[in-house]
Amino acid sequence: MASRTRRRGAEHGARGGSSRRHAPEHRARGAAPRRRRVPMRLLLPCLVLVALMAMLMLRGYVHSEILADHRIRPEAATDKVPEKILEGGPVIDTRGGRAETLSLRDHRLVLTFDDGPDPEWTPKVLDVLKKHHAHAVFFVTGTMASRYPELVRRMVEEGHEVGLHTFNHPDLSYQSKKRIDWELSQNQLAITGAAGIRTSLFRPPYSSFADAMDNASWPITEYIGQRGYLTVVNNTDSEDWQKPGVDEIIRRATPKGGKGAIVLMHDSGGDRHQTVQALDRFLPDLQAKGYKFGNLTEALGAPSAHSQVTGLDLWKGKAWIFLVRASDNITGVLVVGLAVIGFLVISRFVLMLLLSGIHARRVRRKGFRWGPPVTEPVTVLVPAYNEAKCIENTVRSLMASEHPIEVIVVDDGSSDGTARIVEAMGLPNVRVVRQLNAGKPAALNRGLANASYDIIVMMDGDTVFEPATVRELVQPFGDPRVGAVAGNAKVGNRDSLIGAWQHIEYVMGFNLDRRMYDILRCMPTIPGAVGAFRRSALERVGGMSDDTLAEDTDITMAMHRDGWRVVYAENARAWTEAPESVQQLWSQRYRWSYGTMQAIWKHRRALVEKGPSGRFGRVGLPLVSLFMVLAPLLAPLIDVFLIYGLIFGPTQKTVVAWLGVLAIQLVCAAYAFRLDKERMTHLISLPLQQILYRQLMYVVLLQSWITALTGGRLRWQKLRRTGVVEAPGGPVPSQRSAGTRDGDRRPVG
């Protein structure tokens, strides 16, 4: 690990100042625990996603969205089917190499219902059968039995027999032996799970009379006999699925001349009210004529086709039913979640468009002023930790400032001569303050103590200001209620892919989110790269704190609670370099999102307080929590449903829906770019951002959640203490930059 850390440090160094961070404590907080978390942060989200996907697939499977095969084979020749089968009865026994058929005695009728159970019609069929004390046989499919196990249980309890009708109703003549075995065993599993029995009856899908056996279906029948099943076809087909009317169903179902018969009906697959009505007349009529309605083995006088299942097989069946149930329920929850996230995303966009439009119009109005122009000199604090590569540019850009300033560079124990570089520049209004490495908040507090003026501008050591930046940034202080101002951070290195994505994110974050928060008076973060504070306000809330990983969010929330306004100055532009590697980006965002969660937690009491604190607590905190902490938690659902929809369909609708959401985002992004007068070309990387970058962001957030829920807070405090102790001795600054690029230029809240 040591070597890894070192190498990383070196890498960053080479790249230029982009990733420095102050403070050992960050190292301690970030690095050590992270080592242990590495597997977790990937493993847990992955497991959750895989589990969700598996549940979705299970559901799709029992709803016949997956693996369904709707082909039906046309009739074939019959020369290979034994004559006695073709002319024999409806019960075909091919067990143990036999080829025999059985018929029913006269005045025996066996009603058979295929394709169920159905939640609506099967109970009605069962009620009618019960009313007339009749028994029947239900050939259930595995998919339906899995979904409605209580109906299968009821059938068995009320004396009916159940038989296999395959798992998802394919034409078996198209299937391999393996698939046939699987269809049977899976069907059996569902019945076992539902009712605790196995059955030895089978009816092939799309079957009719015995004389309809042909060269394609006969070998299947023989094979199924080898597996120990009786194949049951029928003598009279009510064709109730065509809904020919109650009279017609009765006519077709009734055998001629008092013969016995197996009658085919359906209790599933559509509206079956005619079947139910027909049964209610058919049963008493024929019973009056001396017919008996038993189940198959009663009619044949054979031992029951059911056998009890115990032990492992029974538990397997129950587990299956449980899983199907769970997947149905979870899918239901997921769909609700998707609706919620969809609603949140859309309403956030609408809100942002609306409020940012209002904000832009307000501050761009002719003659708009915050108050009297602010012309007094201000102090610019530049906390710097190993910024040798960048610090000169940073300071020089300040020298071009149109506003009178004093610059204080606080060197936080750099080992690369950052302080010397600044001193060597020999600039009159630049002071260098050195301290032992103690972290960014401490550096800022030290700078604050040395500041000569009442307005404090804070920036990063690797950020470059435009000449007008400071002036624009401090104008809002003309309004005495304003305690802090956020500037507009821009990504300089925007030509790489990851840079372009962050550019889009920053432009949207500053031009939509921040304007919205400004209007709602709950901006959660002043970016560390470019922000300004009223000194008296800072002092009232006790200066910067190192309680959280995101001191910028922490201080901003404290300002709100103290009753200060926090506003956005769109023309105060500062140029920063965004992380160029996924690793760096990960660390930066992890710090931000975890820091935000810490800050929200730290300021949770605002929720119940009175006055401005309570207002922020009841409006700002929930809003920020919703958009920044909770919504991203549901965001993976979009991808789960996208993948499921793409693979299992409906593909077209899924793609269209996804493109629709993309178009909305494109509109929002384009609006943000227009507000900022940026060129639109970078928007071309928006589609890829949606399928690569967004996921990275929410995985980071999930990691923050995991850290928070698994006791990260405890670990943190312990480590912090360690950090403080170590700090002075401060071994080398082997910085991991990652965590660190100062988070300060957060685009969003």
Binding site: R494, D495, L497, G499, A500, T651, H682, I684, S685, L688
Partner: protein, 472 residues
Amino acid sequence: MTHGYPPMGPGAAGPGAPEPSWQNDPAWQTDPAWQNDPAWRTDPYAGAGAYGHEPAATAVAPEPSTPAPDPAPEPVPAAAPKKPGRDRYLDLLRSIALVRVVAYHLFGWAWLTVLFPSMGVMFALAGSLMARSLNRPAWGVIKSRVRRLLPPLWVFSAVVLTMMFAGGWNPTKDPDLGGGMWAVIDLFNYLVPVGAPPFPWQIGSQSGLLENTWAVQAAGVLWYLRAYLWFVVASPLLLWAFRRAPWPTLLAPLALTAVVGTGVVKIPGETGNAISDFAVYGGCWVLGFAHHEGLLSRIPRYVAVSCASLVMAFGLWWASGHLGPDGWDLNDIPLSQATWSFGFVVILLLYSPSWQELPGRLARWDKLVTLSNNRAVTIYLWHNLLIMATVPILDQLYNLPFMESERASAALDSTYMIWMFFLVWPLIGLAVLSFGWVEDIAAKRSPRLWPNGTKKKAAASGDGGRGGRRRG
């Protein structure tokens, strides 16, 4: 078989003139040969790769992907002085492409064509090397490329034709060929693959050792050589056009594919196949130029990657509406193959890290990567025939005493392809040992049996490597 070589050889036409020149060129030097020279490398492959579609192909069909024979894979490390050695990233891509082609031809999984568009990658690598070589007079470059390609083909043709004739095939009487003298003239394509070589659709009997379509399978791979040859010949013109009008030249093949690959204009017969191949992979070939000329690196990366993925998305979308007999097999969907390969190659080339050696865990594959690059043409030419040859060998297993039971043979049945895949590699190794040295002769190097780079390393540390390596 080597004898074929003389006529075309250096001696013959352009006697030697060109060659010397490069040899002296430091850049090339390293490889003593060309091996090092990227340009060469490519070629070989190039040849191979081309296959993309086999026109004829059939069942197994050859997928296009293979890379062809590039001769050069040499690892030339040593060469010190000079120019950067081979770019191992490109070598690795070529090796992956070869493995993918073999796997695809064996298993026939359509998704492999989406996972890694081997043929597009091979043609792009070849195009890049060609652009590099074309610093020299075009005629000499073409000659040397062709010279390096043909002798390995002649060996292959000699074996395959012998087998076909021994199997009783008479081209003049084959009804599928139209018969007569034309069929005989077509045989010339086995020497110089300017067109599609003739072959019998069925040969031998169903019960024979090899499946009766073996000739189709064996000759099917030659489409790649044909495409490669035409690309080489067209390269001076393409490069000229590319330098004057980069974007139109880059995109023209895609446009051509949209016309000839979608049925808008239908060109019948082998000519149609040849033009379609040229159009489908022309974009990748020119991308190789763009890579070499630095065009790709001049575009902001986010633009290049975003546009490439849009092009790829178009390819998938088009494929979804034009699925072929094997579903998502892009070889049956020219426009999708062209666009998907194009975008894929753009991204691969953009991220090209220019490794001097394989990093990290990849390093353990170093020797195989070197070997497969050195023998790409051989591997490509022979793999499909060898896939067929695994069947009679594996069938012997059914005769083993413990295989009597139904279960055992059912187990073998269901895992047959996997055993084929394991067996085909040793067979390819045998082919490399038996015929691979021809590639060295064609490249005017001393023949080597198993050029996996080990010697060369030693040599490299020693003297600059030339001698040692060659021998290796």
